[in-house]
Amino acid sequence: MDPSEVEFVAEKEMVTIIPNFSLDKIYLIGGDLGPFNPGLPVNVPVWLALNLKQRQKCRIVPPEWMDVEKLEEIREQERKEDMFTPMPSSHYMELTKLLLNHASDNIPRADEIRTLVKDIWDTRVAKLRLSADSFISQQEAHAKLDNLTLMEINTSRMFLLDSLDCMYKLRTNLLSRGGAPKGHDY
């Protein structure tokens, strides 16, 4: 999957906005949205929130977890544990990037949040690399990783699959070659 596809999937997440216009309830294929009244918060998908923000028709309220203290706790938690800790949102990386790029004026202490989320991401991806490395070197048959998000899986997906494939080919070649010389030893 392309990272932009993962971002596209992440845009379905709901976020709270405060519109400055009024509109009746709208009925979309994915569900109902609204009604929109100026000054009253309403939950909408991120794609709509960003579009309205760019047209200056709303103010985005940062999600609860996008807060400096909470993120610091999560980061400490992640650094302590060997396994992956559950993340506040299954698309935390994409949401952070989208919201901080388009609505950083509505999010307090945006620079610190960006740094904290990057730290958390780095820790988790490092753990993923270590785990993939030990999986291959110990030639395990299967592994179970909890609490990974789609974006993190996507970073290693292509490489892991291709390399396992190559290794399988090499191994089968080795085995078949190991068998053939016996046949030719007359």
């Binding site: 400055n20 200056q56 028709k57 950083s104 004026d105 307090p108 945006a110 620079d111």
Partner: protein
């Protein structure tokens, strides 16, 4: 007619329609266009953007688009000429004109249906009242009536003759009154249209529209600031007006700054911050070295007389007086010693007072976003103007327009930096041309004005075939000349400048600017003067530019045109 409520009478009408935007080629128009585009994007209004260079372009663009569009928005063009006469539009076409050119043509002012002027009425317009210039033709009907009566009546001939005499007397009286009225009308119109000047920047007017609709953003405010600064850089408005408009914009700036930073949670560094600066009048000094900037800025160039050896020495003294080592001063500004940069403005102001430069500092605004990007409004004006008129090969007018428009967005910083480089080249070319003109005494006094003609082979003369660059050159030249000449009378003369425009066609571009004076009101009479001179000598001229004081002329007709101008203005 003037639009009183710009939101109801302009924006609410076009928001549901497709509009054609016809934009003139100057930085203020670009900024106004950006503000309007941002508003259109928010409300998803369909528009077509057409850059127009002059009246011919305007006519062509109008003809191309008049089938599809009913609403036309004209930015910085169209107010100072009878638009309906020039374009001959249909009955339903409506023009919204946001233009800084004054005086506004009286037909445009008094037309109620098709022409809407987006101009603030507190700009000192001085439009003559309706009755002074327009008059219903009643007396014709009156004459005929009395004629008919006298014809149709069956009264005795004696009475008829007396009636006839009375009618004839009344008619003569009416005709005399009419001739007087027409003479007065001609005088009023002549006074009104004699001088050309400029009003409030279009970008500021459109920003105020956005503000009224509560849709103003910092980006729009920055564009409004650039529009106003463009008027000041190209010497279109008086210093008084500039300061007043800066104060108005300063209120908006503090409102925006206050809105966003009133808690401890300060904004991300990437957000745009506009701040008021009382900064130096040295062009592009933060993107150049201080020494280069001093050598190439109008104010310092003319005060120190840097084209002479004396001037160079004085400059060295000035730098020594401030305690700035030459090595530091010749370095790129960003790499200068921090200790020197900190107090630079105050140090320069103190020293410049000693050398007779009382106004080395000017009120302006600066913007910074991200850690690296800091720009003053004048920097962006120079960059955009240089991009707009870039004479590099393979670049058409429309390409330049789009590039200049792009450089105003925050996301196109490389375009802006390219513009700054081009602007540096332009300023250096201007400085060299000014130096050579003064040293070779190319500026001659023709009596009522000064005249200077750039020859074909002058280096960088292609740059000066464009109106904005030529304006800057004229301004620098006149200022420097006024300082360097000993002749007291010559100091207060206006300047007419000619530069080659197109070698194959043999045309020159001629431009006139008002005299250099501290309290000048920047009113330019050359527009009308050029028209009359061209008419009287039947020279082959093209009055295509929206500024009437810039015309194209065939090279062969140059001398007779000048003679006519001299006789006209003496």
């Amino acid at each position: 007619m003037f639009v009183t409520d710009i939101r109801k009478e302009f924006y609410d009408i076009v928001v549901n329609q497709r509009v054609a935007l016809l934009v003139s080629l100057d930085v203020d128009a670009l900024c106004a266009c950006k503000v309007l585009q941002a508003l259109f994007h928010c409300d998803q209004v369909q528009y077509t953007l057409v850059p127009v260079k002059g009246w011919q372009d305007l006519g062509t663009a109008f003809l191309e688009h008049k089938e599809q569009f009913r609403y036309f928005v004209l930015i910085n063009c169209g107010a100072n000429v009878d638009l309906l006469e020039t374009l001959q539009p249909e009955e339903e076409t409506i023009f919204f004109i946001c233009d800084t050119h004054r005086p506004v043509d009286v037909v445009n002012v008094y037309n109620d249906t098709q022409i809407k002027l987006l101009i603030k009425q507190d700009d000192d317009l001085g439009v003559p009242s309706y009755d002074d210039i327009f008059r219903d033709d009643e007396e014709e009907g009156g004459d005929q009536d009395s004629g008919n009566e006298s014809d149709g009546s069956s009264e005795p001939s004696g009475k008829r003759r007396r009636f006839d005499e009375g009618a004839i007397e009344r008619r003569i009286e009416r005709q005399r009154a009419r001739r007087e009225w027409e003479a007065r009308r001609r005088e009023i119109l002549f006074d009104y249209e004699q001088y050309e000047y400029h009003g409030t920047a279009s970008a500021v007017v459109l920003f105020e529209l956005a503000w009224v609709m509560s849709k103003d953003t910092k980006d729009m405010l920055w564009w409004a600031i650039i529009g106003l600064t463009d008027q000041w850089v190209h010497d279109r408005i008086t210093h008084m007006k500039y300061v007043t408009d800066i104060a108005a914009l300063q209120r908006h700036v503090s409102r925006h700054n206050h809105c966003n930073e009133d808690e401890d949670n300060s904004l991300s560094i990437d957000c745009m911050r506009i701040c008021f600066e009382y900064d130096l009048r040295l062009s592009l000094y933060q993107h150049w070295s201080l020494y280069e900037s001093i050598c190439n800025s109008c104010y310092t160039l003319s005060t120190f007389k840097l084209w002479s050896i004396q001037g160079q020495k004085k400059l060295q003294e000035f730098l020594a007086d401030m305690g700035l080592p030459l090595k530091q001063v010749r370095q790129k500004f960003n790499s200068m010693d921090i200790a020197i940069k900190e107090n630079l403005r105050d140090v320069i102001e103190e020293s410049s007072n000693k050398y007779g430069m009382k106004d080395i500092r000017i009120q302006t605004f600066g913007v910074h976003f991200g850690f690296k990007n800091k720009f003053l409004a004048t920097d962006v004006v120079h960059a955009a103007a240089a991009l707009l008129e870039s004479v590099e090969k393979d670049e058409s007018g429309t390409d330049n327009f789009i590039k200049a428009l792009d450089c105003l967005s925050r996301s196109n910083l490389d375009q802006l930096h390219r513009g700054i480089e081009l602007a540096k080249k332009k300023l250096m070319a201007i400085q060299q041309t000014v130096a050579s003109c003064i040293c070779t005494h190319l500026i001659l006094s023709q009596g009522p004005f000064l005249y200077c003609c750039l020859m074909e082979g002058t280096p960088d003369v292609k740059l000066f075939s464009k109106p904005l660059a030529l304006t800057l050159l004229c301004k620098y030249l006149l200022k420097s000349f006024a300082r360097s000449t000993r002749n007291k009378r010559c100091k207060i003369l206006p300047l007419v400048m000619a530069a080659p425009l197109d070698v194959e066609k043999g045309t020159v571009i001629v431009m006139g600017i008002p005299p250099e004076c501290e309290t000048s009101d920047k009113k330019n009479f050359f527009g009308r003067a050029f028209e009359k001179a061209a008419e009287s000598t039947s020279s082959r001229t093209l009055h295509d530019n929206f500024d009437m004081s810039i015309i194209e002329l065939k090279m062969q007709d140059r001398s007779k045109f000048l003679d006519a101008l001299v006789t006209l203005l003496s």
